[in-house]
Symmetry: C2
Subunit: 328 residues, 2 copies
DNA sequence: TTGAAAGCGCTAACAG
DNA sequence: CTGTTAGCGCTTTCAA
């Protein structure tokens, strides 16, 4: 392993000077050149373990997400990665599998590994951040808020629910159902509330009750809830899916029943990146996943750089992409 | 920050003993208990930066993939992650964006960060591994092979192409086209060769030439190639898609032309995790992405543990899931 | 089995 | 601007 001592010897300077060259503090032009030349010829790379031991920090940030296989989160991860690597930081991606326990383990590792900070999409509101916050490391919450007083990036969930439902109503559908994620997740509840306010007046309260389903996240949850809705005495003629995977499940079931959109109206909160459906058949409330990652990464990097304003929460806007195809 | 010295003082032992407790070398039962108690009460976590500086290695492995937004690679990443975290290793996910240059940067970081090893899905056959291999770190190639003499996990690409095409032929289609990834990527070429051998005899050589398209990876590549095929004087009545994203693009175009499968036969090499299509309409050659990740991670961990048999290449089998729906 | 002590490679005072 | 020096927290000889 090549160390700064090897470089120093070859460049005829002290190790400290080599270190300075690699850290941008003032060194005379000739010595900078000599050091760079020596470093290059020896193919020297600074040892990050030593550096982070000494500096008590490392150019690594942690990103904890509940599901690495959900395109929503990978798009977000992509945004984080781009900003971080631009700034010379690496990203350790941690898959919490929606388990608070796994989350804690990764947070511990973040500390032990001297990571500079963490971006976390909390698995639930029971997520424990005390340990990592006590170390003084910045933490930014994405997608969902937390009970802690920290930076956050979320989106307008209620508005997403409302505009999805309104778009369907505007297209002429009359009984607009809703399938959302678990009720205890606040983002799911907010989106449902948005839908509820939009359909108020178009159906009776009792009907609204019946048209509202809380499923598990994921394709299966969407499938099951859609089957239930179709089995209703008065089934809906349109449905809002609370997230991308639920949307996939719902559309699958609809297709199997010969009710391919726009036969039954469908609006999905979240993108369907790999849908084989013609993009015109379904209304999509595009979620700014990448943007969310970018924003969170920038905030975190600022904190790492020493920014100490009071915690901010940024609310990102969604973008409605209405289905262009009319009802069949 | 709590150090082994704090723990040692509280437990009334030497720092060396604390270290031994955390590394499983022989310590008397009472001292082990005392140390554990002290460590727990102080909430001590060993400092990994210090450990890896001292040991010249860290419990971190790198995973370099060309596209974090492709479900094929995230499924693979999931497999790697599961095995690694089971063994107490963290995974740093690096997105090379199919760029050899970004790959090299990440490989450099892997060295500087003292990572124990790397699993890489090479962006191309120009991937340079010399630097990292020179450090003695184990590297396992996944998805594609390399020009280096290292461990690898690949799948039966030629067989995948053959069975996809044969399945379509068996279902009664007569002109089976193929859309694959870039010709210079060997896996793409192999899959195409498999298709070619299956359709030999069903169409003339000139026709086969016309029915073969090399596209860019990605949905757009699939869309464009499918449009070209449909514009042919004698368009195909079925198509094999060389990967999942190309399949999505091809099916989108088919749907827009009113040729929804199984109207036109479609076989996809790779899974369509979020397809909104009824799963029965399309033949899928399921690629063992997760299994590939699991296998690679196990191999890497063995190497890290000191295994030094000659390099092995594992070839994983694919699984054909024929479309069950008959032609409409 | 246990402790003392010497570093791993780097950075950050402190002098000069 | 530059060199000397003292650790960061841990592991690992070497003795005891």
């Amino acid at each position: 392993m090549v160390t700064i001592y090897d470089v120093a010897r070859l460049a005829q300077v002290s190790p400290a000077t080599v270190s300075r060259v690699f850290n941008g503090t003032s060194v005379s032009a000739e010595k900078v050149a000599a050091v760079r030349r020596a470093a290059k010829s020896l193919d020297f790379t600074p040892n990050r373990a030593a550096r982070s031991l000494r500096r008590q920090s490392s150019e690594v940030i942690g990103l904890v997400i509940p599901d690495i296989e959900n395109p929503y989160f990978t798009e977000m991860a992509r945004g984080v990665e781009d900003v971080a690597s631009e700034a010379g930081f690496s990203v350790v991606l941690c898959n919490s599998d929606s388990q608070t326990e796994k989350e804690s383990t990764y947070l511990q590792i973040a500390i032990a590994e001297h990571m500079s900070g963490v971006i976390i999409a909390p698995a639930s509101d029971r997520t424990r951040l005390d340990g990592i916050l006590a170390t003084g490391r910045p933490v930014v919450a994405v997608d969902r808020g937390t009970t802690y007083d920290i930076d956050g990036v979320v989106m307008a969930n209620r508005a997403a629910g409302t505009s999805a439902a309104e778009s369907l109503l505007a297209a002429g559908y009359r009984r607009v159902a809703y399938i959302g994620g678990p009720q205890e997740i606040d983002t799911a509840a907010e989106r449902a509330a948005g839908w509820r306010s939009a359909i108020a007046g178009t159906v009776s309260d009792a009907d609204a009750e019946e048209l509202l389903r809380f499923a598990t996240f994921g394709v299966d949850g969407g499938r099951q809830a859609m089957e239930e809705l179709l089995a209703l005495p008065a089934p809906p003629d349109a449905v809002v899916a609370g997230n991308n995977l639920i949307g996939v499940g719902a559309i699958q079931v609809l297709t199997e029943h010969g009710l391919t959109p726009p036969e039954t109206g469908v609006a999905v909160i979240g993108s369907l990146p790999f849908t084989t459906l013609s993009p015109t058949a379904v209304t999509v409330v595009r979620l700014p996943a990448r943007h969310m990652g970018v924003t969170a990464a920038r905030m975190l990097l600022e904190r790492i750089a020493g920014d100490d304003q009071p915690p901010r929460t940024v609310v990102l806007r969604n973008e409605l992409q209405p289905a262009s195809a009319a009802r069949g």
